[in-house]
């Protein structure tokens, strides 16, 4: 059974578009990334799944259950992290956590474990927490009941690099336990590292969905050479320009052929790497434009 199934989902706020025609399926047990520019419809889609807003048309199912009016039942198995995490500012962190644990009727073991992993000060008032620490609190609240499905709206925004790494490790650990993770992000490197599949949303439509492995296979390579040399000529090798005393090329062919070709020349340095998801998307947008 699919963890999330969205079919021709549409949401209009009076005349303005939230979602135009979104369809996708998230399989049970996978980490699914959801990326797109600001205003593309990422948060709208997530809020429909969370029953915070109501769709205009189409269907949204979680574990085969239509989400409409099922918040009580579905929220038992969903952990949700909003893009901006806000809790009762006037209360100490420990009281906020106790409230969520009590409402969910869970034991405190998992919660305490998460507090330790994310290193959160329980004695502070929520209002005194930094943005990053509020995010940590949100992550603990989302994960404390060992949900079957985690819906995370920009989970690592505001976290320092070390904490981002911890967060991604935590997600992978959750996945090993069988949790399905649906996350939206602006950080393509994070999506590239964590996700099994990724969808691109633009103007309220899902433009494409692909497996990260396929993407890695089909994507182009980036080549940076020093000293400057704009005249390398080889099939599938395209000169892009000079960047910081290095000439930049894009290559879409067989990597061994390229290495053989490059071995005929003498360089100060060579940097040959896979293209990043950001570069792939930029490439996609350029083609679209």
């Amino acid at each position: 059974m699919a963890a999330i199934e969205i079919m021709h989902l549409r949401k209009y706020y009076q005349k303005s578009r939230g979602l135009e025609d979104a369809s996708l399926t998230v399989n049970e047990g996978e980490i699914f990334g959801f990326v797109g520019p600001n205003g593309a419809g990422k948060t709208t889609l997530i809020r429909i799944l969370m029953n915070l807003i109501h769709k205009s048309s189409g269907d949204a199912l979680i574990f085969g259950e239509n989400v409409d009016g099922k918040a009580k039942k579905l929220n038992e198995i969903i952990g949700y992290l909003p893009s901006e995490t806000n809790f009762y500012a006037e209360m100490p962190v420990k009281d906020v956590l106790s409230f969520f644990a009590e409402t969910r009727k869970i034991d405190f073991d998992r919660m305490n474990e998460l507090v330790q992993i994310l290193d959160l000060d329980l004695t502070k008032k929520v209002g005194a927490l930094s943005f990053g620490n509020k995010k940590k609190l949100g992550i603990i609240v989302a994960m404390m009941h060992r949900p079957k499905l985690l819906i995370l709206d920009e989970p690592t925004t505001g976290l320092d690099p070390l904490m981002q790494k911890k967060m991604l490790d935590l997600l992978k650990e959750e996945q090993k336990q069988g949790t399905t993770i649906f996350l939206s992000s602006h950080d393509l490197a994070e999506v590239q590292e964590a996700c099994d599949r990724v969808a691109l949303i633009k103007d309220g439509k899902i433009n494409f969905v692909f497996k990260m492995d396929d993407l890695r296979m089909s994507s182009f390579k980036k080549l940076l050479i020093k000293p400057l040399n704009q005249s390398l000529s080889f099939p599938d090798l395209t000169y892009l320009g000079d960047v910081a005393n290095a000439s930049q090329y894009e290559y879409k062919g067989n990597i061994n052929d390229l290495i053989q070709f490059l071995s005929k020349y003498r360089f100060e340095s060579i940097d040959l790497r896979d293209s990043t998801l950001a570069e792939i998307f930029l490439d996609y947008y350029k083609k679209e434009a």
Binding site: Y13, R47, M50, N51, L52, I53, H54, G69, A71, K72, K73, N75, E76, I78, Y80, P82, E84, T85, N86, F87, Y88, A89, E90, M91, F99, F100, E102, T103, R104, G138, V141, A142
Partner: protein, 265 residues
């Protein structure tokens, strides 16, 4: 199926407790002061020139006992300021989570919208009952302190009907918050008690028969303190039933709106 969440109730109560305390203590202390001033006011009345006393006759005459005095001085103040407090309470119970952006986290809990609505409403009702009880206590202590013998039945009836009137206003205010879009400032909530209070004042002060009928369109009428403490008092049942029904229908329609409400923050 349960319609109530004890943990949410506890946290809502806790979040609103300081507000409850400030309003209750400030108004309660004022009521207490009004009551303990009665012996001094009585002396002033006794020393009042007969011409002035004749003028006062036009407005119902000088109060002859503690409760009559209380009705015009303490009772009306309690009703006006209390109505403002409960209107804000009713409005904020819906909008505060949206304004403070805590709504996304709360709505992600395994609670239905009906449960959220009913629990929030229960916390408003509890606060109103405590608010009235504290003010009842302060006023009573004042009367005990000055040794004024009051009719406890009338005194209690006044607080009971005023509490009912507060519940009606809070429910109408909560309904207003549910009908309006997310983001409307809570100040709009006072648009409910103020006009209703003014209608009540006009209907009691005028000799115009048409304007007197304004009393039917304000809930302050069924809790009119001047009337309650009179010997020949009759409860205006029609007015009371109209407003209780209005509050019930407001509650139901607000719950329907709340269930359909899009959380756009």
């Amino acid at each position: 199926m349960t319609f109530f969440s004890p943990s949410l109730f506890k946290i809502e109560f806790r979040r609103r407790f300081i507000g409850l305390l400030i309003w209750s203590l400030a108004l309660g202390a004022s009521m207490y002061l009004v009551v303990i001033l009665f012996p001094m006011v009585q002396d002033m009345y006794a020393a009042m020139p007969p011409e002035f006393a004749a003028i006062m006759e036009q407005f119902g005459g000088l109060p002859t006992n503690g409760l009559e005095y209380f009705s015009t001085e303490g009772g009306m103040m309690f009703q006006l300021f209390g109505a403002l407090y409960v209107a804000l309470e009713g409005f904020n119970i819906i909008t505060r989570d949206e304004r403070e952006r805590t709504v996304e986290s709360i709505f992600a809990l395994p609670l239905s919208r009906t449960q959220l609505f009913v629990t929030k409403y229960a916390s408003v009702v509890t606060n109103i009952l405590l608010f009235s009880l504290i003010n009842y206590g302060f006023s009573l202590i004042g009367f005990i302190q000055i040794g004024e013998d009051i009719n406890m039945g009338d005194f209690t009836l006044f607080f009971a009907l005023t509490t009912l009137m507060f519940l009606v206003i809070a429910t109408l205010s909560l309904s207003l918050a549910s009908y309006l879009k997310v983001g409307v400032k809570s100040g709009i909530a006072i648009a409910i008690p103020f006009p209703l209070y003014i209608l009540y004042i006009i209907s009691t002060m005028t000799s115009n028969e048409i304007l007197k009928n304004l009393k039917y369109i304000t809930p302050f009428t069924f809790a009119d303190p001047v009337g309650i403490f009179k010997a020949d008092y009759e409860l205006p049942w029609l007015n009371l039933i109209i407003f209780v029904l209005l509050a019930v229908s407001g509650f139901i329609s607000a719950m329907i709106c709340f269930k359909r409400r899009d959380i756009l923050i």
